[in-house]
């Protein structure tokens, strides 16, 4: 028996499709779109055949389905690559570096003002070896302005490396090649 799909059926199917799709965000874009389209088409075919409720039920747990799709793309060997993790680690790294700079400069300023509340002149903080460049402070009557404190090239490389490792981004390369 063929079931004609109502608007409600279509909406229910869309909800399932997008529920799976939201867990496929670490697939290459083209692969993700293909999976979404194919799943929608299969669900509509199934719904025409057995009704939307049965079609959705037949799909099983959408989390498991998404995990199976991820394993199908990247293989079963360990955690798949994750942009979400990579982005989180990137911003986490920036926060840590900014905190280091802030903590270092605050401590330096406190030290100078502590020794002379009306300090005037130019002072230099050496920064953190390999991580932050030196910072030059100009004090006028205990009040300071500063320049410097840039990240070193080593810091950029280190941050990039940590992001790639945390997100396992190298595992995206074969998948990208396949879907190009």
């Amino acid at each position: 028996m063929t079931h004609s799909l109502t608007m409600r059926d279509r909406l229910r199917i869309e909800r399932v499709v997008w529920s799976v799709d939201s867990r496929l965000q670490d697939l290459p874009r083209r692969s993700r779109i293909e999976k979404r389209r194919e799943l929608r088409d299969n669900l509509r075919s199934a719904a025409s055949d057995v009704g939307a409720t049965e079609a959705i039920h037949g799909l099983g747990d959408t989390r498991r389905l998404a995990a199976e799709y991820m394993a199908a793309e990247y293989g079963d060997g360990g955690r798949p690559p994750s942009w979400t993790t990579a982005v989180a680690v990137f911003f986490g790294g920036i926060l840590i570096l900014e905190w280091l700079l802030e903590a270092g400069t605050s401590a330096f300023v406190a030290g100078v003002v502590g020794s002379d509340p009306n300090a005037t002149g130019t002072f230099k903080w050496e920064g953190i070896a390999y991580v932050l460049d030196d910072v030059t402070f100009r004090f006028t009557d205990g009040h300071s302005t500063s320049i410097g404190g840039a990240w070193t090239p080593f810091t950029y490389v280190l941050l990039l490396l940590v992001v790639v490792l945390a997100g396992k981004l190298w595992r995206l390369i074969p998948a990208w090649r396949r879907h190009r």
């Binding site: 293909e34 999976k35 389209r37 194919e38 799943l39 088409d41 299969n42 669900l43 509509r44 075919s45 199934a46 025409s48 055949d49 079609a55 037949g58 799909l59 099983g60 747990d61 498991r64 389905l65 199976e68 799709y69 394993a71 199908a72 793309e73 396949r178």
Partner: protein, 115 residues
């Protein structure tokens, strides 16, 4: 009453079954599920078949092509590649060899229990 099939046992041979069916006739995802059900795997879930097809495609064992459909957007039909056909032949051979051994062991055990 139909016997429920052990999903773990089925998982081991699912790719072989898919290759065999697709070698007979190219099909899209849900059609493959229907064909498996018609052949007796009534409890097989779509959720296990669709990723298995994606995996076969990644492994280069099936090729997909889009075929326009009257009922909506173009449909993705699968059929085995040369590598898929070779894997199928090898898989059938392995399965039949294993099946012979497993059958003989299981049958012998059953006979001994009867004595």
């Amino acid at each position: 009453m139909q016997t429920a099939h052990d999903p773990q046992l089925l998982k081991g041979v699912l790719s072989l079954l898919l290759l065999r069916l697709l070698a007979d006739r190219e099909s899209y995802g849900y059609e493959v599920v229907q064909r498996l059900r018609d052949l007796g795997l009534s409890d097989i879930s779509e959720g296990s078949v669709y990723p298995a097809l994606a995996r076969l495609e990644r492994e280069g064992r099936v090729r997909a092509r889009l075929v326009s459909s009257n009922s909506g957007p173009a449909r993705k039909y699968y059929r085995p590649t040369t590598a898929g056909e070779a894997a199928l032949a090898e898989g059938i051979e392995s399965w039949l060899a294993l099946n012979t051994v497993v059958n003989s062991v299981l049958t012998r055990t059953t006979e001994r229990n009867r004595k």
